[in-house]
Structures are given as C-alpha cells and as structure tokens.
Symmetry: D3
Subunit: 237 residues, 6 copies
C-alpha cells in the first residue's frame, strides 16, 4: 500500500521530476517508451502495478470463443485488479492490434482501478478520448487483440515499453507519460520529488523574471536563501 | 454501388466492430496501419476504393513540369475518382514527403469524393485540420510528392498501410482509422456490425452500471433476455 | 541578419511553399523529419540557426553535477543564443530522453530567442503545450538529457532530423514542421514563396468555386489573366 | 518425448517444408523472425522447447554479483534444460547486448541439450562460429546480458522472434532458421513434411531437366504417376 | 536489347562505379537497398528488368490451391520472363515470408533468365547458396509467399528496395548489390563506367605503391599522363 | 600512446571481456552497434581514435568536384590520421550510401593506420573482403558518400553506432565488433581483461570437461585453487 503522504506527493509530481530522482539513485531506464495519455483525465495517475502478459497469438488457440471462459487471463485481469492499482500490459510494443477496448476500460473504472497502461494499442479510441480515467497506450488500433496477442499470465514481472515492471512497483502518469518506481524506493523518491517540485516552481518564477541560468538553475547559495524565504512565505499562506 | 441500407449501417459502425466481423470471417489484416484522421470531420467515411499508385521518384522523370500534363496520374486520379468513392494512395508508407495538399483535397471535396486515404503524408496540414472532409494520412510533411513519389497508375490493386486494397473494396473510416472490407462481404459485414453495435451499446450500459464481465460480455442467456427487452424498448421509441 | 522584407515574407509563407521553392533550386532534403510543434504558438517561427550538438552520454562524464558548470555546452547555448535566432539541437533522433525542459525554454524565451528545434524530445510537455514560444521536437519524454545525451559543442554544422543545418541558415516553422533555408538563398526563396502563396490563395478560391485542376493548377494563360486581375483588386484594398 | 520416427523425419525436413505444412493447418506465424544459425553445425536441430524469459534490466538488480547465485534463472536454465531439449530465450528482440556466451553454450552442449535459440544476441561469436552445436541468435554482441536483460523465469510460454513458444513445442532448425511446431501437431506435420520432401526432391529433378512449372509443380496426374514410379525405384535401392 | 559492347562493359563494371556514373547524371537513388547476393555466382548479373508485383496477402484469396492455376502471376512470371532478362519482384521490403524458393529458381535458370532480384526473402536458402545463378534478396525466410504476399501483376513499373524499376531498365549486380540503370542511359553509362574502371585500376596500383591521395585521386595532369602510358602498355599486351 | 604492455593485452582480449571490465566500472554503452568486420583480418584491431564527422549532404555543396580540394575533410582525414590510430567515422548510422571505398582504404593501410570504423557503409566490399586490414562498417553500399554525407570536421568528439567516441579513446575490434575504451581507463581495463581472459580459458576447459556452472563460473575457492595451479603450469611452459 502506498502511504497517504507518498500518494499526495506523487499526485503532484511530474514524471520529469520523478525520473530525475531515480537518475540520482542510478536508475536510468524507468520511463515507459512509446506510449501517450489517450483519455480526458488531467490529474496524475498513481497506483501499484498489477500486470498482464501477452505473447504472440496462435490461430488455433486465439479463437473468438476464448472470451466465453471467465478464466481467460485478459478478462480475469480486468475482474481481479485490486482497487487503486494500475493494470499494466506487456504487448511487446506490437501496435497492429488492440489490447483492450472501451467495455473493458469501463469495467476497470467501475471496479476502482487507478488506470491502465499498455505498450500495445487500444480500440474505441473515440470513446476513450472522453473517459475520465487514466489510460496510457501506444495509440488506437481497431483489430481485436486475438489478431496479435495471446493473453498468458497475470501478475508476473513484465516488460512494458522497454522498462521492467514488477507487480507492486508504483506507476505515476502525467501528460508526458508514465514512470515506474521500484517499490522499495517509492517513499524517498516521492519526498525528494516534492522538494524538487517546490524548488523548480520557485526557479521558474525567477527565470521568467529575467534571472540567468548560472546561479539560479542549479541554485547557488544566494538563490537558496531567496528560495527559503519564498518557501516560508508560501507555506505561511 | 453500396446499398443504402449497408451504407446506413456503415455510417454508424465503428472500425473496431467491423474488424471483429472480418476476424470472424477469417480476415485478420484489414486495418490500414500507420495513419490517422487529419481533418475536422467527425462522421464516418464510407465509400468504394479508387486507387492511385506511386513508386519511388526518379530525378529525370519527376520534374515540377510534370503537373502541366493533365494526364499525370495524380492529377488524373483527382479529376476522375467518381463521386462517393474514396481515393486511396499507395505511398509505400514513405513519410518523408507529401502525396497531396490542400488544393487537390479541395478539388476532391468539390467533386464529391467520399474521402482520401494515403499511407504517405500530406502537406498544408494546418488547412486540412479544419476541412470538413474525411482525410486519413500518416501525418503532415511539407516537401512536394516529387521528392519521393512517382505517380504511376490508377485503379489497380495496391498496398496501403500494409493492407491489400482492390478497387471497389469498401473503406470505412472513424476516429481510430480505416478498415478495408472486401466488396463481396460488405452487405453481411455491415448487417452483422449493426447488430454487434446494438448489443455493445447495451453491454456498455450494463458494465457502467456495475455488472461484471462474466455473463455480460460476452452475454450469457440471461443477459441476452435483458438485451432483447432493451432493444425492443429502444426500437419502440 | 534577415532583412525585414524577407522576414515579413517568411512570417507568412508555409513550409510547403518554401520546400517547393527549394525543390526548384535542386534542394530536396530541407524539411526536418520526425518533429512537430509542441507549444501554443500559431505564428510562423523565423530565425537564423544557432546550433548545439549532443553525442551519446557516458556514465562517468554525464553526472548531475555537470550543470553546476556554467560552461556546460547546453547551458552555455541557452545563455548565448543571440536574440532573434533559433536554437537547433542535434540529438541523433534519439527519443528516449529529453534534451531540455520548461525552465530552459523559459530562459530562451526571456532572452528573446526566436524558437527552439530539437530532433530529440523535451520534458515538461504539459507546460510547453501552453507556452507562447515556438517549440519543435520529436515529442515529450521525461528522463533528463544526461541519460542519453552528452552536450559537446556550440555553433558547429549539425544534423537535425536528417537535414544539414549550418549556423546562420534560416529556419522557418509552421504547423507542419520546420524547413531549413541555406543562408545564401533566403532572400530569393522568400520573395518567390511570397509570389507562390499569392497565386495559391487565388487558385484555391477558384478550385473551391468549382474549377477543374487542368488549366487552374498549374495555371494556364487564362487563369493567369484572372489571377492578375484578382491580385490587382486585392492590392488595391 | 518426440517419437523416433517423427524425429527422423524432422532431422531431414527443411523449415520451408514444415512452414508449408503448418500453413495448410491454418498456422501462419511459426517461423522465428530475425535470427540466423551462428555455429558450424550443418545438421537440423530438433528438440522440445525449454524456455527462459528475460525482461529489461534494472541497474540495482542486475549487478555482476547475481551470477554467484546458482538459482539465477539464466544459470539455472543452463543447468536444468533436459538432454535433447532446446533452450529458447525471450530477449524481446533486443540486440544491444548478449544473452549468453561460449562458456554457457559449452555447458549446454556437454549437458546434451539439442541446441539454443535466442531472439537476442550472443557474445564470443568467433568461438561459437566453430562449435558443433546448433546455435541460433540475432547476431553477435559483446556486452554482457546484464546491460539489457534481467532473467526472470523458466519454462513459461514466451515470445521468441515474434512467435509464441510454449514449453514442449517442437523446434526444428536448418540453415534458414527455426520453425516452432505446436506439440499436438508434431507427428502429423513430420509425416506430411517427409512426404512433401520426397515429392519436391522428384520435382526439382524434373524442373532441372527442363519440365515447365504447369503440370509439374504442383504436380498433375501424369506427374504423380511418374513420381510414384520414381519413389518406388528410390525405395528399392 | 543490350548491345554486346554495353553488355561486355557491364559484366566488368562494379556497382560502385555505375552509381558514380549515374550520380554524375543527377540520379541519386539507383541502388536497391536492403538486399544481398545469396547464391554462389561470382560474375556480374546483367539483364533487363522483367517485373512481378505483390501486394499484401488476403486470407480468402491466398490459399494454397492458387498455384494450381498456371495463370497465377508468380508462376506466370517465372514461365514468361524472356531469356537474358532479370526477374525483379516488389515485395514492399516485407521480410517475414519468402517470395520464391529453389524449385522456381531452378526453373528460372533452366529458362535462361539472367537472374532474380527481390526486396523480400527467399526460402530454401541452403540450396540457393550453392546455385550458379545470380540471386539477390533480403535474406532467407521459410514461410511460403502466401503468408504475406498476393501476386498481382507482371511487367508494370514497381518499387524494389526503395528504387523505381521500369520494365526494360538494365540491372547490374555484383557482390555489393544491384544498381538500376534507366534504359535510355545504359550505353553511355556502360562506356563511361568502363573508362572509370580502367582509371581506378591504375589509381589503386599507384596508391598501393605509396602515392598520396592529392594529385592521384582524383588524378591531376601528371597522373593522367602516367595513366595514359599505363593504359597504352596494358592495351598492347 | 598506448603502452606496449597494454597493447599486448588488448591484442589478445575479446570485446566480450573488455565490455565486462567496463561494465564493472559503470560503463554500459561502449560497444559500437550495427557494424561488423568486413575484411580478411583475423587479428584484433587496437588503436587510438582519430575521428571524421559527416552531416547530411546538401545537393549544392556535395558535388563530385569537391574531391579536387585536398582540404576536403574526408580526404584530409585519410591523409592525416597518424600511424597506429583508427579512423572512426560518424555517419549517423545512415546505410544508404558509402562513406569510403577501396582506394581510400588502401591509402589508409599504406599510411600505417590501425584500421577504420564507420557506422555507415563502405563500397567495393568484394575488394575489402580480401584486404588484410581491420575494416568495420554497417555493410556494403555502392552509392558514393556525396549522396548522403557531407564531411564536416576532423578529430572532434563524435557518435559512432550509438557510442560516444572522443579522439584518443582506444578502440579494440575482434570478430564480434568494436569496443570503445575511454583513454584514462585503458591500462587498468587491459590488465584486468588479460586476467579475465586467463581465467575464462581455464574455466571453459573445466566446463568442456564436464564441470557444472555452480562453483566453476563464477569460480568458488576450490576452483580458484585449481586455476592458480593451472596458471602456474601454463606460465612455466
């Protein structure tokens, strides 16, 4: 479970800030590549990863009748992802078919999931575009998942957009994309990201007011003094 | 000619639904890859394919003076596509140059074409973005077609975005992209797609209201009973 | 320096028109590939190129402490690009990390730069999306530049999106992308583009009113007579 | 276990023939893409799949010390693949690092494995090039697997070169590449492939002797009579 | 028909030399990309282009029974390419399946074709590797052409490896690849290539003997004097 | 200058071993991607980097007459690379044209260069294939460099195959490819690679003789005792 303080910080931290915090801890490959936000949500997505893995489809296995089985891993995943978690799908970055559509996404939302992330595509993108639910994918593609994808297992470590995702890792999504935070680092990363966001809010004001980069970004001692004063005034409001 | 009932159904069927109907008939590769809707139209594009084929340009053939010849295949295609048909271009998915621009698209629209689809790019995308005319392409690219493309023939079978397009095949486009329906299947696919759309409209309401996937999607006997009641009420309105 | 007449013409010429003018002069590869406008500006970007070159990062060199040095080439470039010029970055079309973010872009804007072009990505794309400053990039990507990029030198000839950019070349950007005009051609290209834009404004009106392509586009003698009359009426207003 | 008759047939069937037999059964996607034979073996590789799965590396997990643990999945896979089986690795077609090297391949060979297939790369390719052991990979690449790959589990269904591989599927490799035969089809595919190979051996002799394609390939009734005579003479030897 | 003198020159000219001659005439895009020589031939391939065009396969059309029809375009092409000509196939650079195999290639050879070029793959590459017949392809791939390719027409202008090929253009292949020479240029290009080859044979001897590049390559007046003497001595032998 | 001991070690170390040594020092991206050895040399290439940088060609600059100028950067580079150094070219991984050919390579060899590395292509690959000179490139391509490349400067830091190369870095090439060793690390990396090669020679003998991976690779205390005895016996010979 994500603590409420950490959750609060992550709700207001950009993925740019979070990747910088992870870079400082030696983690360079944490931003899911090749996806974008496809829905109307403008708030950050925050939640623990619950994973679904696809391998390539095989024509004799991936018949349309598979969906009659409630144990089919894709359907099972939608029905079992715990509230507050993010369903993350490994589609091998294959974009020629969908990995889910608006009916499944509606179910996910009703069940209280925190969002969905796939490095494949989604169908029904017109409907998804107006959903108030965090949805990240490589794009829209009409063909159903059976054309390319065989759902194989749930809640195993996966690859998504070139990044390792372990069940329980914390995913944060904003308008730029999705960052994967290893679970053991989430509290410290969230806290330091919060501090960095504060400082950058101050810095961007300074820069907009005409200060040069040297001494301001990164801040020298003088700037830090002014920052602390600004921070104090801000906290007092 | 597309029958008016079929046309009506296709005007209101999503490409997701249509690809599912084609999947059920053993056709997996029917969705044009790598393109998107670039204009302001929000209604479905429906029309038979009229094709134009490009091969790579050759510097001694593809001079700017070629357009003075009204028999130049690109210009000829624009002037001869029958009203109600879709001009489909094979650009070998090459995106480094345009395959047409706003003047040609305006002429197409005035002539009553149903739309344009190219797996290459288009120029003048700012003007295209506000056109009320169905336009699908890989994106915007300023350089004129002669940089990359030699227009070679009209109304031959072509490749477009990785899909076979035969003249007379029916193309349907929505916000997700464009599906190619072989002409001999168009009536049955349209009819079954209409039925599927009805059912899915009902199902998504059920799911939004909290029903679980098992038993609802795909529907079991109980759900189908409720569906038929809903359908009857809907038809009575 | 760009003359005021040339600047005026370029402010109102589309990149489609400009690439056609360069094609007529034998230059085929002048449109930067793989980028798009990411900010809120709707006016053309016009300015001379000031370049920054990155090579791949090396872990022992590209530590977060490098930014403390005001001579770091990325920071130096932001602080030294002359007002009215465009900062152009060579990122080897690598999109897995950012090449700058909103703080640096704010500084660029404050300093009076004409815009920024990178064939890599930028971070903070939500903030960039509302900036009134011309920004062109391959997309948004959160990880900081040090993950992939080592800033190496300033104002050398570079590659950007597959196009050669020499310092002092003139860049023009519209909603479609960015064209690179070799400096010795800029005045004649601007003048002829202005003439072409006038003619095409007239032609598109003719086509919208129902005239066929042959004789209108390209124009024959009759059309040119009507064009000159239209032009005269227009100039008299 | 593969029966000895089936094994015999597969040892002498080309992957071209086997993919045709699978095509006739509705399976189109059975040939592993993007790999080649890297060792000196000239005989077919035949064996059941034993799988190893990698996901992207994470810097804090994939330290060089991981190999000290004999339970590390890569090392465990090498030590536990049963004799006569093929180790198949899912490297997400990532070619920037190795997935094994000559020491591990030597161990595999000593342990009696039937071969190794990876859609990633291998290191020590000079040594591999002279090994008498079936080795298929995307190519040679020196960096150790930890740069890109985190070994995660053993004998799960995987993707390899765009094809689904289930543990127990039968892999056959020749100079062209590797075909994956679903286990329940292996006997009939092997038998029919054997028949097809016989026929094609006859046909190629006919074609080489000057017969035209029509009537010979595919064979008409006359050709089949001659084929049966040839087959009888051949069997009598 | 290619004149015997031109043919003689082309038999001994490298594709490097021929592309330089075409560059001097303003043709930059004449070398077929993404293919390699797959057979045992070490002599140049020279012949006029006879073309076959594929579009993407469609499951209901591309059944294995199509080959029973001698009018199937692929089979028809093999049976009708005139002796001395090169069969060139447009496979849209799709490499996931074959476009022909050793039986068809044997027939081509028996019929006296000058060679085969495809920007797709070929099957039976082990057998092809030892054929004394010029074969150029993107590589080996076992699946039969029907998986990806629908043969559609013969002797139309096509794209092959990113280059325009018109029927009758002259193709020359060596160990590096294949160049396409527009038919109206073939005699002058062959003649000048012959001269260039002579000069470069001399130059490489000079360079190997220690002369520096300046003055030798390109040759200055002195070098040209020595070249003419060398040429005379050579011709006298 | 590379010390003679270091040079000796590098002459006999594989790139696999060297990348492992660099990995241990935190350097993950040191192996040039997408190239292969194209010549007949079987010994390691060892030398310091001397660099040449290309940007995309521009038709008005890159005329065939440029080579008449001995100051043309490509020609200048060939004539000035010091003996024992490796000419490394940045071609932006563009493979549609050559970056040099056999005449220039012959000159390089005569001048005593240690080898050539390019992430573009080379022409005259048949001649190169039999040269006793270390040549690494992305492959063979006939078109001359002016089609794609504008040579721009010498001995600046460059990108080559996705790796940063600074003048003076040490390049080592074997049959697998080329590793780039930052100059300040070369002595310690060479020394430790030598030690690692010794140990692996011993280990592979042990594995070939039937020892299991655990305890042998990586070696435990027992194995290390045996290794030291083996090493002593070996050194005594």
């Amino acid at each position: 479970m994500i603590s409420s303080e950490t959750s609060q910080h992550l709700k207001h931290a950009g993925t740019a800030t979070l990747t910088t915090q992870l870079f400082k801890r030696g983690l360079h490959n944490v931003f899911i590549q090749g996806i974008r936000r496809m829905s109307a949500t403008r708030e950050n997505m925050v939640g623990e990863a619950f994973t679904l893995r696809y391998i390539p489809a095989r024509e004799d296995l991936d018949l349309i009748s598979v969906f009659e089985n409630p144990e089919h891993p894709q359907r099972k995943a939608i029905e079992t992802v715990p509230p507050g978690q993010v369903l993350v799908m490994d589609c091998r970055r294959e974009t020629r078919a969908a990995s889910a559509g608006d009916i499944l996404l509606t179910r996910l939302k009703v069940r209280g999931a925190a969002g969905i992330v796939t490095d494949g595509c989604l169908r029904d993108s017109d409907a998804i575009a107006v959903m108030e639910f965090p949805v990240y994918a490589a794009g829209g593609s009409a063909p159903l998942n059976l054309v390319c994808h065989h759902a194989v297992d749930i809640n195993m470590p996966i690859a998504c957009g070139g990044v390792a995702v372990f069940p329980g890792d914390v995913l944060v999504g904003d308008g730029e994309g999705v960052v994967v935070i290893p679970k053991h680092l989430v509290d410290e990363v969230a806290r330091d990201a919060h501090e960095q966001e504060m400082l950058e809010e101050f810095v961007i004001g300074e820069i907009a007011a005409g200060r040069p980069l040297p001494g301001t970004y990164p801040p020298n001692a003088d700037t830090l003094v002014r920052y602390r004063e600004w921070r104090q005034r801000r906290d007092e409001k």
